[in-house]
Symmetry: C2
Subunit: 432 residues, 2 copies
C-alpha cells in the first residue's frame, strides 16, 4: 500500500472521485449509528438484570454492620459497599467514602468545595486571583467541563503511552503555586486506553508541588474494565495512595471510581478514596450537604457481586461482548488505513475507547463527514481543554454501544471519511 502523501495530484483526484461515489452510496442508506459516547450496549445491560432479584419484599434489609439501610444514617457508606469500592480501586475500605450514582458528581463536588471552602484548611480557591489545573490531553471532556465551569485555567499536558509528560508536570507543579490540580485517568485512559507506567505513578507520588493544596484527581474509571481475559493482556497500575504515603505526600490524591460501567450507567454506586485528612475534611462537608447516600442501592450491589471475584467474573462477561466490537473497528482500521499515512490509532487492553489520530487539520472535517452519512462521533476537539484540539487531529471512537453489525457499517463509513477528508487535505497542498 502506498502512502497517500506519495500519490500524485492526478492519483489523488481519481481516488477522490471514486470515494465520493462510495460516500454518496453510504449516505443514501440513511443510517443512524452512534459511536459518540462510552455507553454500554443493551446486551451488556441485560447481563446485569438479575441484580434486581437480590432485594425483594422479603429481604433482610440489615447491612453487615447492623444498619437498617431503609432509614436515615451512615454518611460514608455501608461496610460491605466500602469494601466493594475499595476492591475495585485496590485500596483499603477505611480509605473510602461511598457516594451516590455518579463519580462525576463526586469530582464536581470536590472542586466546588475547594472553591468555596478550600482543601484541608487552605484558602478557598475562589479567594485566589488565579487557579490552574493541568489537563493531560487527549482526555475526558467532562473533566475539562468541570474546571472550565469554575473558571479554572486549564493547561494542556501531552499524553504519552506511559501517561502524561511527567517532565512537564513536575516542572509546572513545582514552579507555580496557582496550579491546584491535575486530571488523570490512570488506567485505560479516556480516550487512548493508555495505562500509566509504574515510573509515572511514582513520579506523581513524589511530586513537590508549590501549592500545599495541590490535588491529583485520579479518576480510576476503568480499573476492572479489561477487554482480554489473559493476565498478560490486562494492564496494571500502581496503587497511588500508598505510593503517595511512602513519598510523604499522603494527602495529595483524590481517587474516584464507580460501578457505572460495571452494573448500570447512572444507577450504580460511586466512591472516593483518599487520605484520613482528606476524608475528615470531606465528611465535615457531607454532614451538611446530605443525609447520606442511597444505602439500599449500596446493599443491592454488595450482595449481588458478593466479592471482588464476583466483580471480575461479571466484567469477563462484559469483555466477551465488547472484545469483538473493538476488534471489528480495529480490523477495519487496519485493513483500510494501514500504510496510508493518514491516521494512527490505539489498540487498548481495556476501557471504552479507541483514539484515532488523523492528519493534522482533518479531525473536524472527518467528524462532520461521518455525521452527514449518519454516523455520530464525539465532537472533534472534545478531548482537549476548551474543546480545542490544537492540531485538529484527535477523534474518540466509542465502539461499545452499537450492535456488532451496526458497528461494522459505522467503521466502514469512518475509514471512508478519513480517506476522503485526507485526500482533500492533501490536494489543498498540491496546486493544479
Amino acid at each position: 500500500m502506498k502512502a497517500y502523501q506519495e500519490l500524485s495530484r492526478v492519483e489523488l483526484l481519481s481516488l477522490k472521485e471514486q470515494m465520493e461515489k462510495e460516500f454518496e452510496d453510504a449516505r443514501g442508506k440513511g443510517l443512524k449509528l452512534d459511536m459518540s459516547r462510552g455507553k454500554p450496549s443493551v446486551a451488556q445491560l441485560d447481563m446485569g438484570m438479575d441484580i434486581f432479584d437480590v432485594l425483594n419484599s422479603g429481604s433482610d434489609m440489615t447491612s453487615m454492620d447492623g444498619v437498617d439501610v431503609r432509614n436515615y444514617g451512615v454518611l460514608d457508606g455501608l461496610k460491605e459497599a466500602k469494601q466493594m469500592m475499595a476492591d475495585i480501586m485496590g485500596v483499603k475500605a477505611e480509605q473510602v467514602i461511598v457516594y451516590g450514582n455518579a463519580s462525576l458528581n463526586v469530582m464536581f463536588d470536590a472542586v466546588s468545595s475547594a472553591m468555596t471552602h478550600g482543601v484541608m484548611g487552605h484558602t478557598p480557591w475562589c479567594k485566589l486571583d488565579k487557579v490552574k489545573f493541568l489537563c493531560p490531553a487527549p482526555g475526558y471532556d467532562r473533566h475539562f467541563s468541570i474546571t472550565q465551569h469554575f473558571g479554572i485555567e486549564m493547561i494542556t499536558v501531552p499524553m504519552t503511552p506511559q501517561g502524561p509528560d511527567m517532565d512537564m508536570v513536575e516542572r509546572l507543579v513545582t514552579g507555580d503555586e496557582s496550579i491546584k490540580g491535575i486530571w488523570c485517568v490512570p488506567k485505560y485512559s479516556n480516550p487512548q486506553g493508555y495505562t500509566y507506567s509504574d515510573e509515572t505513578v511514582r513520579r506523581f507520588a513524589n511530586l513537590k508541588p508549590a501549592a500545599a493544596d495541590f490535588r491529583i484527581f485520579w479518576d480510576n474509571a476503568y480499573s476492572v474494565h479489561h477487554l482480554y481475559d489473559e493476565e498478560e493482556r490486562q494492564d496494571r497500575v500502581l496503587e497511588i495512595l500508598s505510593e503517595c504515603e511512602k513519598a510523604g505526600n499522603p494527602d495529595m490524591v483524590y481517587e474516584f471510581a464507580s460501578t457505572s460501567k460495571i452494573s448500570f450507567s447512572g444507577a450504580g454506586v460511586a466512591a472516593i478514596a483518599t487520605s484520613k485528612g482528606n476524608l475528615e475534611c470531606i465528611k465535615r462537608v457531607l454532614a451538611i450537604q446530605t443525609i447520606g447516600h442511597d444505602k439500599i442501592n449500596q446493599l443491592r450491589h454488595a450482595r449481588y457481586f458478593k466479592d471482588f471475584e464476583g466483580i471480575k467474573a461479571h466484567m469477563r462477561k462484559h469483555a466477551a461482548l465488547m472484545r469483538p466490537k473493538f476488534q471489528t473497528v480495529l480490523n477495519t482500521l487496519q485493513g483500510e488505513l494501514a500504510g496510508l499515512g493518514i491516521g494512527e490509532w490505539t489498540n487498548p487492553n481495556g476501557g471504552y475507547f479507541i483514539s484515532f489520530e488523523a492528519m493534522e487539520g482533518c479531525a473536524k472535517a472527518i467528524v462532520a463527514k461521518c455525521r452527514e452519512a449518519g454516523v455520530t462521533l464525539t465532537g472533534a476537539g472534545a478531548t482537549y481543554p476548551y474543546g480545542e484540539d490544537p492540531k485538529d487531529s484527535n477523534i474518540r471512537i466509542a465502539p461499545t454501544y452499537p450492535a456488532p453489525e451496526e458497528l461494522a457499517a459505522a467503521a466502514e463509513i469512518f475509514v471512508l471519511c478519513v480517506k476522503l477528508v485526507s485526500v482533500e487535505k492533501l490536494l489543498e497542498g498540491k496546486a493544479a
Copy 2:
C-alpha cells in the same frame, strides 16, 4: 391544677424532692430512647417493602417516554417520575427536575451554585461583601447548617401559627439587597407543624425584594404527610409557584420535596420545582455536575405508587401508625402539664414533630436531664440559627421512631424532666 408560678417556695421544694426520687427511679431503668430525629419507625419502613418486587430480572426497563433507564441519559428525570414529584408538590410536571435521594442535597447545591455562579446571571454570592438569609425560627436545623456553612448571615424571623412574621419579612426583604433568601417549610413546619395561611403565601408571592436574585427556599417536605384521614384535619397550602406567577414574580421560588418520608429515608427520590428561567439555569449546571440521577430508582418509585392516589393511600397507612404515637405524647403532655404554666406545645395535623415551648431558660436543662435518664431529644437550640435559641425555651419532640410502648416511657420521662427543671428554675427566683 395550680400553676407552678403560684406555688410557695415550700411547696416547690416538696415537689422537687418528690420528683427527684421519681427521676432517680427513671434513671435506674437504664432506658435508651430516641426522640431526636424525624425518622420513620421500623414498622413504617416495613410497609413499603413491596416496592422491591416492582423490578426484577424480567422487568421491562423502559420508561413511559421510551428511555432505557439502565443507561446514560436524561438529566431532568423520567416523565413518570416528574409527574409523581409534581403531584406531591401540587405543581406541573414541566416545572420539575427529579434528583437523587436527598432534597437536602438539592438545597445545598442550589446555595452552592448561587455562591459560585450566581442565580440566573446575577453576581455570584461569593463575590458580594455580605449575603443574608431570613430564617423563620423555630425551624429546621439542617437548613441553618447550610447557610452557616457558606458564611451566610442568618436573621431570625419569628414563627406564628400562620407562618413567618410577614411584616418583618416584607420590611427586611424590601429594604436590604444583601438578603438573598429565606428558608420555609410551608406545611406542617419543622418543628411546630404549622401550615402557612393563604394570606402568608400570597404575601410571599407579592414580595418586592430589593435583590433581584432573592429566592424563597420552599421546602415542601411534608406535603402529603397528614396525620388524620378526615379532610377537615388535613392542612392545605396555596401553590406558591402559580401565586408567584400571578404576582409577576415567576422566578422567586425554589420548591423542594422528596419521597424520603414516603418510601425510604435516604433511598427515595428528590426534586425541585421552579420557573422555566430557573430550570434552564439549573440544567446548565447539572449538565456539568452529573451524568444524571438514578433513573432506575425513579422508575421503581413511579411504578410502585402508580399515581397520586397510590401515594395518598400509602400515606394513610403511615398515618395510622404515627397517629397513636403523636397522641401518646400529646396525652401525656396534656395529662401531666396542662395548667401548670411551665410549657406549651403544638398539636399538628401532620408532619413529624411536636414543638414544646418550655419556660424561658429551661430548654437546655430539660434536654440534658432527659439524656441523663436515657431519653435523647434534639439538642436544645438546634431549631434556631447558629444553634442559639435566644429564650432557651424551644424543644423539638420527634415521636415517630420509637415503638409505642417506648414512646410512652419516653414521654413520661420528658414531662418529669420539664417539671423538675421548671421547679428548679422557679426556686432560683425565690430566695430562701
